[in-house]
């Protein structure tokens, strides 16, 4: 083992000799610098290895041979080794990144650079207060010098502000140190901590307060952090990444070291400081357009979060290994991602975030950028995700509700601006520009990227003991990424094979309802994958994401714990987001999608944390501990709202139409017919728990859920009829149909659930069919506006047939399967006694006719347009799945027992059956229905009449589109003859009041409020050094009194 | 009142002829070049804001078309007619659709029926009543409508013509002697 003191020796020695080395050659001195950092990294790495993999205990190193307090001692433990390793490593990579500027600069920057890293090393290791002060000074002075080195007015100014602020902090630190020494007579931190009872005295409190405050100010808390932001904005990216990560890491660790000094009851205040910083920095970041400043805010926010988490875990006496894991995960995510992002900023060389769009032409860099963003937000499998999971769980356990809300709110704000940024890059219209990607700049980024990936995969496997099953979606995604160069058709086949294989793999564990959903998720996807073969070229990126999404839906089914469920849920969300984002105009809708999805995920997370007693998965149903008979109401509400967001229930629906409609056409059919059912699946599990466990007012809740369901149906259908865009129409229609399923599920009866599942399966069939047909049509006519189509029945008869069958099945007209759903729903509702809901759903189902007729009329009937003269039938890849679905619909229409019987057996374990079969007739307690006979009668009557018509009609002349009776005139333009635009103007006049965009208005209002709040809060940063100093002082004083200083 | 208007008009425009049909209705004749200026003056300064009609008469013997613009003043309840004579060989007149948008319809009709052109008037060449008319404009006196009808419309043989006056007398008072 190398003595850690070697680190200092190396640093100091080389720094002193640097001028000498530099005389030889800059290359030589630079190599020495690299070497030093490399060796130090190696030393730290070696210690880290020992701590992690062997039972090495922390080591104290005494410098002068005396024991403290007479000498300075250093500590090398797991935490220290970890941070040292990180800091030196980032120093090394940063040096590499800066190699060009180092080459052309004077010698001082190199020395300063070394000094700064050494300072941080010192801060981390030392256990002496005064020594800590010295190292703080070293690092901050060298930082200042680095900032101000390049003679640039802005940089000088920001460097100056930095110096003032850190000078102020040093004063506080020194004051605190003096007081403490005065009280305790020692400067050794460990000894001070052991005598920490002195803090209760007012002087003791003041001393500790000043000490901590100085560190906190160095950690740039809101609002006393204006100086830091200027630094982030103006300094070169190589340096700023060091300041933002390494420096902060050091100071943070100092804070961590001294935290035990804070009395237990004051810890929440410290956490409060952090959370304020976290929330407000994220809030203000929304308004930023300067990329570095935005990253700066994000860094400050993350540090704030770290402070909060550290204080809270200490407050809650969380097991040290766990708290270490949480803190280090957050720390690492920010550390790696932030450094990487600042480095990327150096390559882009653009300040405005919109100008980053040139990244779009560098797929490799874009992927890395995306991964860093995801890591910051806490998307699985990145470390932040796991940290968040554990953290929220602990907070929920200790009932710190406010903290959960604030942390998740801040995270959501952060996700908002980061995803907005990402989306604007992916979907921007900017032209390609030359972008220099020198190797010395790219290599550090790639190394960090790989590091992040390794850590991310390591965590679930090592810490959470994940086996391969929940990780399969990622595996699938990676496999397809490897084959991404192949043509689409081949990739579609590979995807189908993967999904088939996956299905076979998980088939043994499926049973009952999970079988139904497996059918929807996997078989449905399998068939729809045929349609994706119509994609041209290689179409990079689509299939990996799609397979990732489908397999994560499969993962939901076989999840064995809440964590696995949540993991799969988040994976599904993020892959779906990426798929939506692929749509041409999907920037805004995709952002809404991910925001609402993440909000839903956070609700789910907190709900699962509150309901920690249950294992939220199908498997978990069987293992409810007897002691836990109460399902907390909060948990129930949180979880149910999360799922309602997913199904797009009314009030939370505004993300739905846009993201369904603006996604690529074949993706939409996946989203609408399959992905939306995951919400239903989740809700089903929740309701099953509700059945098994008691909850206060559960009847009231399901009743409310029923109302939400029926209003979703009503408003979804009503909105659908006023859409001009076919995909918006279908999106609203999906919303309505899912409302029915929610309604049925909420009925909590045998028939209700049977009808819900029946509808879920049926919805898969018809919605996928209609959407694929429409996708085929759009691919041919090149527009989504229905009034721009017309008369396509002659050109695309097969698509017409599938839309026809689809709308009959959707509308519930006998004899097709839709009527089965309607019959089951009404019988279930009437049986349940939900009469008004039944009435309203009847109204909604009548309204559905309106939009369905509009759909088929304006596209396929009416006047063909001249520009569609040469339109051909859609590609067979679109048609094959449609016809498979038609076959399925026909089968279950002819023989409803094919589907209702198994569904009812699946539900039997939960509810007593109220339906019975007599031959083909299905009897409920209220009525009966024989789908088979209905089909025969209808078909018989229809055929007889058709034959009679053919016989009686005589000579028939087939005529063309203008051969119509046009009040003795003739039509001149198909466009004006086709009645399609604003089809239901009269309906709008009658019921338009119901479709005023109230919800959209509300959410827009929320958005505007947040944005303007951010805007006005931002005003406090005047850019003026004195003001910043004043803030720091005020901050200090105010906090002092808040925390109870006397 | 009317006198004043007339007085002002004569001062401003070279009016060649004034015909007072009624106390509140006068017709003035003026050269082609002044007509639209005068109409515009009447509309803007004398309160004749309403274009009652625009009509033409074919004076084939004089070789002219006479256009008559009748304007109405709502306050005074008076009408004034502006008569303009234009050459039959060059039947072109300035358009007044800029003053009254509805004038385009009158002008369109005049173009179709008399062949008087109003350059700049919207849709002036579109058919107004007649679809696909290929002959000379039918309202011109040199167009023989009977001949055209007989050539075109398959007249049913056996049609008899009576002088209405004589015929009615014979039918109603067969006993009376012709005077």
């Amino acid at each position: 083992m190398v003595n850690p003191i070697m680190i200092f020796i190396l640093f100091l020695g080389t720094a002193f000799l640097f001028a000498l080395f530099d005389k030889i050659h800059r290359k030589f001195s630079f190599a020495i610098l690299q070497l030093v950092l490399l060796i130090n990294t190696f030393i730290a790495g070696q210690w880290l290895y020992k701590f992690v993999f062997t039972s090495q205990t922390p080591v104290m190193i005494f410098t002068a041979g005396f024991k403290p307090p007479f000498s300075i001692n250093l500590r090398m433990g797991l935490e220290e080794a970890f941070i040292l390793f990180a800091v030196n490593f980032v120093g090394l990579l940063s040096a590499l990144y800066l190699s060009k500027s180092f080459k052309h600069s004077k010698v001082y920057p190199l020395v300063l650079y070394l000094m700064m890293i050494m300072g941080v090393n010192g801060i981390v290791m030392t256990r002496d207060l005064f020594n800590l002060f010295v190292f703080l000074e070293i690092s901050s002075i060298s930082t200042y010098a680095l900032i101000a080195l390049k003679e640039n007015e802005q940089r000088l100014a920001s460097g100056f502000k930095y110096m003032i602020a850190s000078g102020l902090a040093s004063v506080f630190f020194l004051l605190g140190t003096i007081f403490i020494y005065h009280i305790t007579g020692t400067l050794n931190i460990d000894q001070i901590i052991t005598h920490k009872s002195f803090v209760i005295t007012s002087l003791g409190f003041l001393s500790v307060f000043t000490l901590m405050m100085s560190l906190i100010i160095e950690l740039k808390p809101f609002p006393a952090n204006g100086w830091a932001l200027d630094v982030y904005q103006t300094t070169t990216s190589g340096v700023v990444s060091i300041i933002a990560v390494a420096n902060s890491a050091g100071v943070f660790y100092a804070f961590y070291k001294l935290l035990p000094l804070i009395p237990h009851n004051q810890l929440l205040f410290i956490a409060g400081i952090g959370i304020v910083s976290f929330l407000f920095s994220n809030l203000i970041a929304i308004k930023q357009t300067d990329s570095r400043r935005l990253l700066g805010y994000s860094s400050i926010a993350q540090i704030g979060l770290l402070i909060t988490v550290t204080a809270l875990t200490r407050y809650l006496h969380v097991k040290s290994s766990t708290s270490l894991f949480i803190i280090s995960s957050i720390f690492l995510s920010n550390f790696i991602a932030k450094a990487g992002l600042f480095w990327i900023a150096g390559i882009i060389k653009k300040t405005h975030i919109k100008e980053w769009a040139i990244l779009r032409f560098k797929p490799g860099l874009l992927i890395i950028f995306g991964v860093f963003i995801f890591a910051l937000v806490g998307i699985p499998p990145f470390p932040n995700f796991w940290a968040k999971w554990d953290l929220i769980r602990f907070l929920a356990l200790s009932k710190l509700h406010i903290w959960i809300i604030l942390i998740l709110l801040g995270s959501l704000l952060e996700a908002f601006y980061l995803f907005r940024w990402f989306g604007s890059i992916v979907r921007s219209e900017q032209n390609e520009e030359q972008l220099l990607q020198p190797a010395y700049k790219t290599v550090p980024i790639i190394i960090f990227f790989l590091l992040l990936i390794i850590i991310s995969i390591g965590i679930p496997i090592h810490i959470y003991q994940f086996d391969i099953l929940p990780l399969l979606p990622i595996v699938g995604l990676l496999i397809l990424s490897i084959f991404d160069f192949l043509p689409s058709k081949l990739k579609a086949i590979i995807s189908m094979i993967i999904i088939a294989g996956y299905t076979l793999y998980i088939y043994p564990v499926l049973s009952g309802v999970s079988l139904v959903f497996a059918f929807i998720f996997l078989a449905g996807s399998f068939i729809q994958l045929i349609a994706t073969m119509s994609r041209k070229g290689t179409d990079k990126g689509f299939f990996p994401l799609l397979v990732g999404m489908i397999l994560s839906m499969g993962s939901l089914l076989v999840a064995r714990s809440s964590l696995e469920f949540f993991f799969a849920w988040e994976l599904m969300t993020i892959t779906a987001y990426m798929l939506v984002l692929r749509g041409r105009k999907a920037e805004k809708p995709a952002l809404l999608f991910i925001l609402f999805s993440l909000a839903g995920a956070y609700l789910l997370l907190s709900g699962l944390s509150y309901a920690h007693v249950i294992n939220f998965s199908l498997v978990g149903l069987g293992t409810i501990p007897i002691s836990a008979h109460m399902l907390p109401i909060t948990a129930f509400i949180l979880i149910v709202v999360a799922f309602l967001i997913k199904v797009g229930a009314v009030g939370f629906h505004i993300w739905l139409p846009g993201s369904y409609a603006e996604a690529e056409d074949d993706t939409t059919s996946f989203m609408s017919s399959i992905l939306s059912k995951t919400g239903i699946f989740g809700m089903l599990i929740l309701l099953l728990f509700l059945l098994k466990m008691n909850m206060h007012h559960s009847a009231l809740f399901t009743s409310m859920l029923g109302w939400i369901g029926i209003f979703t149906v009503f408003f979804g259908s009503l909105m659908a009829i006023f859409q001009e865009d076919v995909k918006y129409l279908l999106a609203y229609s999906s919303m309505g149909q899912l409302g029915y399923i929610v309604l049925c599920m909420a009925a909590m009866s045998h028939l209700g659930w049977v009808s819900g599942l029946y509808l879920a399966v049926n919805h898969l069939f018809f919605k996928a069919m209609i959407l694929l047909a429409v996708a085929g049509v759009i691919s041919r006519v090149g527009t989504r506006n229905m009034y721009e189509m017309g008369g396509l029945i002659k050109k695309m008869p097969y698509s017409f047939i599938s839309v026809l069958i689809g709308i009959i099945a959707l509308s519930g007209v006998p004899p097709l399967s839709g009527f089965g759903a309607k019959w089951l729903i009404y019988t279930a509702l009437l049986e349940k006694g939900w009469y008004f809901r039944a009435g309203l759903s009847f109204f909604a189902s009548a309204i559905a006719f309106l939009y369905l007729f509009r759909l088929i009329h304006t596209i396929f009937l009416g006047q063909p347009k001249p520009q569609h003269q040469n339109v051909k039938e859609a590609s067979p890849f679109f048609l094959i799945p449609q016809f498979l679905f038609i076959f399925a619909i026909m089968a279950i229409s002819m023989f409803p027992n094919l589907i209702i019987k198994p569904l009812s057996t699946f539900i039997n374990p939960y509810f007593a059956s109220t339906i019975q079969w007599q031959g083909n007739t299905l009897y409920s307690s209220l009525g009966y229905w024989n789908g088979n006979l209905v089909m025969y009668v209808t078909m018989g009557v229809f055929m007889l009449l058709l034959i009679w018509l053919i016989i009686s009609i005589g000579r028939v002349q087939k005529v063309k589109q203008f051969n119509i009776v046009f009040a003795a005139e003739r039509p001149f333009k198909p466009t004006t003859t086709h009645f399609a635009h604003n089809f239901y103007a009269h309906y709008k006049r009658a019921l338009g009041t119901f479709v005023r965009p109230v919800t959209t208005g509300f959410w827009n209002g929320v958005g505007e409020w947040i944005s303007s709040a951010a805007g006005s809060i931002r005003q406090i940063y005047s850019g003026n050094g004195q003001t910043y100093v004043l803030y720091i002082l005020l901050y200090f004083i105010v906090l002092y009194f808040i925390m109870g200083g006397k | 009142m009317m006198k004043d208007i007339l007085k002002r008009l004569t001062e401003k425009f070279p009016i060649s002829e004034i015909e007072e049909q009624r106390a509140n209705m006068i017709f003035v004749t003026m050269p082609k070049i002044n007509a639209v200026q005068c109409i515009s003056y009447l509309k803007q300064f004398e309160g004749f804001t309403h274009l009652v009609m625009l009509a033409a008469v074919d004076y084939i013997e004089d070789g002219i078309f006479q256009l008559t613009y009748i304007l109405h003043n709502y306050e005074l309840h008076t009408d004034i007619g502006i008569r303009v004579q234009i050459d039959r060989k060059q039947p072109v007149m300035e358009s007044i659709h800029t003053l009254w948008a509805q004038a385009r319809t009158y002008q369109q009709e005049l173009k179709e029926m008399f062949g008087i052109d109003f350059p700049g008037s919207p849709d002036i060449d579109e058919p107004f009543l007649l679809e696909g008319w290929q002959n000379i404009p039918p309202m011109r006196k040199d167009f023989d409508t009977l001949k055209y009808s007989q050539e075109t419309f398959f007249p049913r043989p056996g049609r008899k013509h009576y002088d209405p006056q004589k015929y009615m007398k014979e039918k109603l008072y067969p006993d009376k002697e012709p005077e």
Binding site: F962, R970 | L130, W133
Partner: protein, 206 residues
């Protein structure tokens, strides 16, 4: 459902409009034989649906037929708003060229068997408009007429009488002018095109 192969030339139509209109040549459909045709003719006679298209001043005389005073419904006659569903076309007096175009179009859109009743002198020989540059003289040169009602204008009683006469003709199987129109299609078309100068429709409006 015999498919015919004769096509209309439609040479007066611009090329781009050809795709919009059916260009099949109309064919005659012979009446059935014997009792069935008689029965059908009886039914046709007792269910005369009049196209509600007032083509001239005579249209005003048609309206009283609906009133209680004349009550054409008792004979099974009824006005019908679309040519597709009507069988009697009443030409209500003078027909200007512009109207003639619409008359031809509507007449061709009525499905066989179809009957035409022409009212007033104007339809017979031009009446008082005989010398007009814009009014045709004899409607039967353009579409076949089953019965005329004289007068200027005929009173509603006269129109009813005309319709009753038409009923008789139908019952006797003598109202087969629809086939006559097809048989003399070229002649009728030539006459129509002689007066309708801007022929912007297909030669037969299906």
């Amino acid at each position: 459902m015999k498919k015919d192969n004769r096509l209309l030339p439609n040479k007066d139509m611009p090329d781009f409009e050809r795709d919009y209109f059916c260009d099949a040549h109309p064919e005659t459909v012979k009446p059935l034989k014997g009792f069935i045709e008689k029965f059908l003719n009886w039914a046709r006679a007792n269910s005369l649906w009049i196209l509600g298209f007032g083509t001239g001043c005579g249209a005003i005389e048609l309206r009283p037929l609906m009133t209680a005073r004349f009550d054409m419904f008792r004979y099974g006659m009824a006005p019908r708003p679309t040519p597709r569903q009507s069988c009697v076309f009443v030409i209500g007096g003078y027909a200007s060229i512009k109207t003639l175009k619409r008359i031809v179009r509507s007449y061709e859109q009525i499905q066989a068997p179809k009957f035409v009743l022409a009212l007033g002198s104007c339809t017979i020989n031009g009446g008082m408009y005989f010398d007009s540059y814009n009014t045709i003289n004899r409607i039967d040169h353009y579409i076949p007429v089953d019965a005329y009602v004289t007068g200027c204008m005929p009173r509603p009683e006269a129109i009813i009488a005309g319709l009753r006469k038409l009923q008789e003709l139908i019952k006797q199987g003598k109202a087969e002018k629809a086939n006559e129109y097809i048989e003399n299609f070229e002649w009728y078309k030539a006459n129509q095109k002689k007066v309708i100068k801007d022929w912007n429709m297909p030669d037969y409006n299906w």
